[in-house]
Symmetry: C3
Subunit: 357 residues, 3 copies
């Protein structure tokens, strides 16, 4: 693999991604052959924001490869509470561990971490920005459940505006030919324009539909997501809209027998519990596919023996990113690094936020 760190799943080439999916399947079929491949290696899971699910998935992946784990899930217990910078924490842990999975509430943190870490860095979620191993989980599931990653009609339902898993899945799936995205949401929670631009620039297509029931019959895949109560204008609005996007047995009647239902989990009530017993429900299997995907990713990344921090030498600018949730806003020593995005716009290389000069 060319890239040392995995900040975004698009850091991987199409071929590299396909290789990881195939490796994930090999591990799944013959797990015993891989039970010692990471013996003597240590994964550090640095969770500045708790997420038991994701952390356990990474830990299980490493342990099933014969490796070991260190880490924290409670920043109050860490040196962070003594005012230590991200840079110092990462520099030290990068010296202890062979590979790092980091989750942080600020956007761009994994990219910033990769600038100081001797060990390769996996982004395990940076605020509302990216969560590439969730997308890896999704594509491993699709590959296995559908037999292909192209020419699929994929319904995406819920909060498409704020859902980073949705954005990331569209970005990755639009690199495969002939996929059609059916975007199912209220107008207020529809997919941002830049995601539509990505689809438009690809060999894929999309359609926006305001009703889950209406969209159902045409779908190969239904990707459900949570709608957070606080995204709605009022409780009344929430109750009204929410029911429309809840998947239950009744709505499922219109679906194809071969359709597969995915969900990044945790689920709250957007899928009725009775759907769990439908054969089309694949969201629990999905977490197991995710474990194999992470095993394949860790194994592949550890083949790279480069222990040099990524200098990320881009043209730097004497500006601060204007995204208030960008890691460069709180970690002041980080240089302002941007990509010119046309006109007077700069794109932050940490959080991908846009700043007007």
């Amino acid at each position: 693999m060319k890239t040392k760190n995995v900040i975004d799943l698009t850091d991987l080439s199409h071929q590299e991604l396909t290789d990881i999916i195939k490796l994930a399947n090999e591990i799944r079929e013959r797990p015993k052959e891989f039970g010692d491949v990471c013996k003597g290696k240590i994964l550090a899971t640095l969770f500045y924001e708790p997420s038991t699910r994701t952390q356990m998935s990474f830990q299980t992946a490493m342990l099933r490869l014969g490796g070991s784990i260190i880490g924290f899930d409670n920043p109050q217990n860490s040196s962070v509470s003594k005012g230590e910078s991200l840079k110092d924490t990462i520099t030290v842990v990068g010296g202890y561990a062979d590979i790092i999975a980091i989750r942080h509430p600020s956007e761009g943190t994994a990219a910033a971490a990769s600038m100081y870490s001797a060990a390769p860095v996996i982004n395990a979620g940076d605020g509302g920005h990216l969560h590439p191993t969730q997308t890896l989980t999704d594509v491993v599931t699709l590959y296995n459940e559908m037999g292909r990653l192209d020419h699929l009609t994929i319904g995406l339902c819920g909060d498409l505006k704020n859902g980073r898993t949705v954005h990331s899945l569209i970005k990755t799936m639009s690199t495969f030919k002939g996929n059609k995205f059916i975007l199912i949401s209220t107008p207020e929670l529809s997919v941002p324009q830049y995601i539509k631009d990505i689809i438009n620039a690809s060999e894929c297509d999309y359609e926006e539909i305001g009703s889950l029931t209406e969209a159902m019959p045409g779908l190969d895949v239904l990707y459900m997501t949570r709608i957070q109560r606080e995204r709605f204008a009022s409780e009344e609005e929430y109750k009204k809209q929410n029911g429309v996007f809840v998947l239950d047995k009744e709505k499922l009647k219109a679906a194809r027998k071969s359709m597969k239902i995915l969900h990044p989990l945790p689920r709250v009530d957007e899928i009725d519990v009775e759907v769990d017993y439908d054969e089309r429900a694949k969201y629990f299997e999905q977490t197991v596919y995710g474990m194999y995907g992470r095993m394949a990713l860790i194994m592949t990344m550890l083949k790279n023996t480069d222990r040099t921090p990524d200098p990320r030498v881009y043209p730097t600018h004497p500006f601060r990113c204007s995204n208030p949730n960008c890691i460069s806003r709180t970690e002041k020593y980080l240089p302002g690094i941007f990509r010119e995005a046309g006109g007077d716009m700069l794109l932050c290389r940490y959080c991908e936020g846009r700043t007007l000069i």
Copy 2:
């Protein structure tokens, strides 16, 4: 072992329990032979209620068998805090792990978990209900320290009303012949009637005594437990009663030289520290016996390769359990499953609480 999950120690037959005790002793005598038997296997310790002691005992047991561990001890850091159901957490973790030990403040949680877990489930404590591996610890200790599990005179002292370790120990020991239970407590904190019924139905016997000093000379074993301050009507009552049930050197003078003192720990002040240096004190050795007991249990359970969740298909009823601390009260999707207990009474299959129709 016939049972896949261990919710209650009585899930094991008399023979199965004896086999586990014998295996525990084999491991204790030749630990090196067992250092790799669980290589490649993962134990998840899901502690919704913190208990470092119990968690460390399970972790140590798995590590000494060559296995690995994942888990949490702080539900605030888990997906639970995002409103995830027990069912979903268990379904996912049951896909990651090979065996689960679960502790939860609500009664019946381990039973409910076993309905959704591919991995076998060990009850590591469900509210005030059951704690079978503590009882396993107790019987491994008794077997080794007394040389037998029958024809013992066992004093049980402290809060016998609320102490689940006491109830569980009596239930298990009354399956062996000729044991006599000396129940030492205040009238307010005496053993519940249903426990007395169990003894009466067995080949064992019991006697109630209000004084530790008086009971002492006849005992083969003294099983001490904590009396929680909040169980008493007043602070005055606590101080008065508490001293009567504190074991110290003075009270110990009346005991046999061969008597053994057990305690499930943690101890607060119901055993004076000076007693620790008496040769009859076995409560610290007891924790080590517990580790070997858990090793034997894990090893035995992992021989069962059944990965089907226990459907617990009992006659279900359109009722909710009336125990306010039953897991079925908070996890609403759980079906009401009961056993008819005579008359208009139903016995909840989660928490064993009684509900009047």
Copy 3:
């Protein structure tokens, strides 16, 4: 190694310390040869006061030797919160684990723990008292970066009054010949008299200087430490003094090219981030040396198979230590054990505090 427990680095003889440093270097050069030497052994990290850095360093060390880890970093989640004594916790964990690393906010805790632990105990920090593995980290770094441990001119800068790492480093380095300590601080934060007495009694020397810039040219080594804001009389005083003791590129101009900069970390702002890129900065490498030092220490201690708790049979006195932060003040069952320190003074064997009879 003669001593079973490592409470203070001076528990090791000069020869034993040198052997551990050499073993650390062997492990660093040929790590694969040591990847299984602690297979089947368990380290318990009992952190009553969180310190991710130190805990991770111990965990990494044990895992890289092929051992396993248990432990906690949050006393609220432990039996401690049920009122359990240190003695009981240690007795139980000492039965589970093969070696214990303990950190606690009270002084003397590691010494007290060693009285009840079957497993050998490493002091991972006891309040403001001792932190021997930090000092081991420092000397492994000095040995490798300077090629020797004697005849060095070592500047120590910052809060020399309260900095336990400084005291401990001076105690250890003054056992080697011809070292000169340049003590750089404000008069209010200067080294305590008893440390000066130790230097005076050795074959080393010291000098006190109030300016980092002035001291710089003569130094072989600069050991920087944090000055905590709350140590100053006022915010104004802090700002005034603080700048004087901040290391930046400008102050570094006066230093020798061969000088090495150390810091126990975490760093807040007493070293400017730009210094990190100077070749003389060795504080991040220092953490890696520390990992090898801890590996060598653990490996050496585990060769000792003595499982008897250290009785610490010293002449005891019917007194309590007068240090309010001594562990013997809160754990009441601990006997008062003292060494006569001349006149009417007693030296507490837990915290080394002085009590006037």
